[in-house]
């Protein structure tokens, strides 16, 4: 580490006012009840757990973050493995719950090579194993005696799961499966925890029985020796190399050369091969698997609020500390203006501040719906084993809710992760030049988050699922077969009023804002339906319309969920009137700013008039920015992201931005190098060896 700065440097202070003073002023000018609001967002228990875990983790040297951005990949991934090990040890010693373990992982701020073992490998074994298989695979996996991963994506196929090339062929003679990669593109690819860490994999492979393909199924395959950790014979496995982010994870590749596995290694809860007849037995309940995907996507929606909150917290605090230029209309020497006072900064940051709340409440709403549905399904499965069984109406309502939930989760996953990912980059740029420093804390986080826009369904691909569902719902409504679910309702409401036309008072009535979003969705749905069913346009030619439709629908869902949250009894009970008013304003800002950005669609669907749009843009949104501005710092404080997690000079709670940037810069290891700057000297360092020029 470089020597500390000389005394005359250590005596220097930033030009005043100090960051700490500015943030104190910010906090003094708002009455937002930070503690109550944070408890509403996270619960008091979770916040206490967070404090406790930060104390534990920040006192362990292995979790020190100061070298995260300077090391090469081989060092980083070894340190990540060491961190993963330490987390496991702590988990056992301190008897952490699953929730605590997840939170601890989240706090250390980067993935570890155990990531996919702890999530998809265990989840798949839990959900798709028979009791015998649980004993064989799940129990040792839970004890980390075997380490696994979930190998679905291939070099040549990501989105199109049916196109996977890896094969599992049933051998009736010796009652085994042969796992084989017939081509190079069949190589498993991107598989987290596979590259260096796993010794087992759940492999999705096309099942062939008697020459017939039954589609992709899951198989447990051991890939490395449990002692030497060397790949087993006829298996070629490794890490796929450096990435834009996520470099502490060993995403891997995997090829099989006719590898035999026993019958018991096909995960058989839902489908299996009968050993005696050599016949394929059908899936029992694919809707449960469907449910897992919905759960994964709902979690992405819920997380998106918190992901964005990191960027918004950093940018908001820094823009309150950073001062640049005098206000152009100011007279006399009033000093430089806080950057957060500029409307061009507010219009970028404050709608994102509103979005992080909007996404959080939407994610909560999604999880609630998911859980309702799960308990309904369990009840139905239980009554299934009754003599009576569920009535046909119950079954229909269940399937209806599931389909709605599936489409909703697809659309919202796309919208939420795009909003969070792109929002982080907006936050980074709002920090000006210093946003580009790794010490801003935004760039590394953005780079690690970006895959979320592609995995669990590419955000563009997913929009087709939403459109397909909306078109199907619209056809049902037109045939008089509408249901009680929300989608059906908004389509019916639109049809009933279409002739008369919409007239929403979006500037005065909040419920009319929600109605205007619903109207636009319904309008776009019937427009798309006409193009597809009447004009017989090709599916491909409509993909752009479908993407717009899905975005519109998902924006409606966010606006609706946010509105329900701000008008809920829970919020009334939890917050004082002033804080609640601010929540209303954030709702309006999210909705009206979205409406303004998508103005052409709102206007074309007659959901709003051009006059309303102009007033929205010139008055309503600008006024909301003015009203929310004084509370911005407290509104990010309420998210209660610990400094240790943010790992950001710009976003420090105490506002001591410049001393922290300076401290980190002076300590960075490049400052240990003494260059030889002359081109004719081949050595790059003073007294260093000659380089191999």
């Amino acid at each position: 580490m470089p020597p500390p700065p000389p005394a005359w440097v250590q005596a220097l202070k930033p030009a005043g006012p100090q960051g700490s003073e500015l943030l104190e002023q910010e906090r003094a000018q708002s009455n937002v009840n930070v503690d109550k609001l944070s408890e509403l967002l996270h619960t008091k228990e979770a916040l206490e757990t967070q404090d406790r875990l930060v104390r534990i983790l920040s006192s362990e040297p292995i979790f020190d973050k100061s070298e995260n951005h300077t090391s090469g990949r081989t060092e980083r991934i070894q340190r990540a493995l060491a961190r993963g090990k330490r987390l496991q040890q702590l988990r056992e010693q301190l008897h952490w719950s699953e929730q605590e373990y997840i939170m601890a992982n989240d706090l250390i701020g980067e993935p570890t090579p155990y990531g996919l073992h702890a999530s998809m490998f265990l989840v798949t074994l839990r959900e798709q194993s028979t009791p015998e298989q649980k004993k064989l695979f799940l129990e040792p996996a839970e004890k980390y005696q075997i380490i696994g991963c979930y190998a679905q994506t291939e070099l040549g196929h990501g989105s199109n799961v049916r196109g996977l090339e890896t094969r599992a062929t049933w051998n009736p003679d010796d009652k085994t499966f042969t796992i084989h990669s017939p081509t190079l593109t069949a190589s498993k690819w991107w598989i987290g925890s596979l590259g260096r860490n796993a010794n087992h994999a759940v492999v999705m492979a096309q099942l062939y029985v008697g020459g017939k393909n039954y589609g992709p199924h899951p198989f447990v395959v051991q890939i490395r020796d449990l002692q030497t950790h060397q790949p087993l014979e006829n298996i070629y496995v490794g890490d796929i190399g450096p990435k834009f982010g996520y470099n502490t994870m060993d995403n891997g590749f995997l090829l099989f050369n006719h590898v035999k596995i026993p019958h018991v290694n096909m995960l058989a809860r839902f489908s299996r091969i009968d050993k005696d007849t050599n016949k394929y037995m059908r899936p029992a309940s694919p809707s449960l698997v469907y449910g897992t995907m919905t759960w994964v996507r709902s979690n992405i929606v819920l997380d998106a609020g918190g992901v964005l909150a990191r960027g918004v917290t950093i940018a908001t605090r820094y823009c309150a500390v950073r001062r640049q230029f005098q206000d152009r209309d100011a007279t006399g020497n009033v000093g430089e203006n806080q950057v957060l006072n500029y409307k061009m900064v507010q219009i970028r940051l404050l709608p994102l501040l509103a979005s992080m709340y909007a996404l959080h409440f939407t994610g909560r709403g999604m999880m609630r719906l998911y859980e309702e549905n799960q308990s309904r399904m369990k009840a139905s499965a239980a009554s299934d084993q009754d003599t009576r069984g569920p009535g046909p109406e119950q079954l229909r309502a269940g399937a209806d809710l599931l389909a709605d939930l599936h489409a909703t989760s697809c659309g919202l996953k796309a919208l939420a992760s795009t909003t969070a990912g792109e929002g982080l980059e907006v936050c980074r740029r709002a920090c000006g030049g210093h946003g580009y420093s790794s010490f801003s804390g935004i760039g590394p986080w953005y780079a690690d988050y970006l895959p979320t826009l592609t995995w669990e369904g590419d955000n563009y691909m997913l929009t087709q699922q939403v459109a397909r569902y909306l078109l199907k719902s619209a056809r049902a409504v037109l045939e008089g077969k509408g249901t009680a679910n929300d989608t059906s309702q908004i389509l019916q409401a639109y049809l009933a009023r279409r002739e008369k036309g919409a007239s929403f008072d979006i500037l005065e009535k909040d419920s009319d804002i929600v109605a205007a979003f619903a109207w636009r969705t319904a309008h776009l749905t019937f427009e798309a339906l006409k193009l597809r069913d009447v004009e017989k346009r090709s599916w491909n030619s409509l993909l752009v319309d479908f993407w717009r439709l899905s975005t519109a629908h998902s924006q409606y869902l966010v606006v609706k969920n946010f509105y329900e949250a701000v008008t809920s009894e829970q919020m009334s009970a939890a917050l004082d009137a002033e804080t609640r008013t601010l929540m209303y304003k954030l709702f309006r800002l999210y909705a009206l700013h979205t409406m303004e950005r998508e103005g052409a669609e709102f206007f074309a669907s007659s959901a709003v008039t051009t006059r309303q749009l102009r007033l929205t843009q010139n008055n309503a949104v600008m006024k909301l920015l003015d009203e929310i501005r004084p509370h911005a710092v407290r509104l990010v404080d309420a998210w209660k992201i610990p400094d240790w997690k943010l790992d950001s000079s710009l976003g420090r709670y105490d506002g001591e931005v410049y001393p922290d940037l300076f401290r980190r810069a002076s300590m960075n290891p490049v400052n240990d190098l003494v260059f030889d700057p002359y081109p004719w000297n081949d050595a790059v360092l003073k007294n260093g060896p000659k380089s191999k020029l």
Copy 2:
């Protein structure tokens, strides 16, 4: 390096059709004359130089790119210095011109620590030195006997140059200046080549003479010893640490503790201290300095086309090789569809393909204007020394053109770099999961490019300069003082027709498309003028309107420049009719797609009707996508970016995407590590030492 894969792996091929076959088909289905088009873009000479330089550079081991993405920062920056040295040696040995040296730097694909010496340090010395100072500083600098940088930005001040805190105080007694950093925020920051490499700096500091501040001026300060390369006394200097990209550059910080420099170290071509009277002598011609900024920004516009072309080349080729899903309306087994055939991919990539051409021709147009203006100014300066001097009309026309050029370059710099930066990320995502791999070649390039959106004027800040100029022009036009320049013309044309209203045939007449963009600019200008001058709205409350206005104006300029290029005699002479037709289509796609995205503004300004907008969206743009699609690969081929420069598995000219991804993955150094995967073993590697958990 890991051992090569076993024989059974080496025998595997990707599932057919092979990437090479698909790209051959692509190239066979289009008649675009790639060679003629590339010569029009770059000139034949430049393409030959490029070929020659690639041969030279790719044969030197120091320029091997394979470890660029895996090494830590201290290794990377040392290698970058070694590369910089080798480039200098080659430049001397092979007698490269300035152009050849710049191209070679560009081909190696990452900045070196000599970057700011070779650009801003030398440029500033050339432009702002007296003959005596040239001998003293410029001559040794050109021979790399002294290495320098340009130190303007500070920790606390970037955009607001007048707010710089570093001071240079004139000492009349001993005829020296004292350079001093009174605060921590006065520390120079972000200065390229300063952190480890420079031994001199041009320091921008507030000049104080007799207690009076004369504003920021440039001073040459030696900062490190020429032999030991250690910082001189009372100077604290170092590297600012890791960044989102640009990590091979030693951006630095610099603090002074009352450092004395002689009189001759103030660069004195335009302003100086008279040694005898101790008086400040006024700047001679600030407009020349103004000119340098305009030149730098014009270059950013010109480069933006090529920056974007890298991403579009990679994504277009890969989307032609990648196949996923069958077309939903296809009957029977037709195999999977090339991703490039999907409209949702086309709508993302093809407008960017059009943009890269649009920006290139716009940059060319800017440089032409700049050069015209420079020669006019030189002529005027020459006649200045005549007895006659320039006439008042000449002077006014010159100042008028300069102001227009300045505003134009500000707005276009913002639009062009935002388009290129954000476009690269669109390209990366269009590549699906593999876009996230460093081997895609997009991510690292994007990360290195991003500072361009902030430096040389933050893209949001710059829009105020454009708006200020447009408002001033509009006031002049209203007062009957319009000039002959284009801005004045479009404002006058709008006023003349405003009562009658616009009626542009944007779907049939290309010149009307340009006119509609001009109309929108003029409309927004007069709207903004009304808000500012009549309604007396505050400057701050109008910043968002100004940003929209600047964007609109800059889009008009791009559309106009592109239109002038496609209708130019130069293009008629260079290209066959078919290729030229494609250029027209790219122009239309750029313009109509922009119009569609900004639909609300075009409609609100009455530049187009809602019917026209709908037809643009549903028919015109979709039809253009269909028509351009078959030529997409040839249109990126014409940019002639060598594979060695692209450094991308996905973007290879030969389409051998998957074997190359596989080869790079299997060779990556993480595959040399053998993990110990068990959490209770403290060692992270098999037989490795215990980690310090």
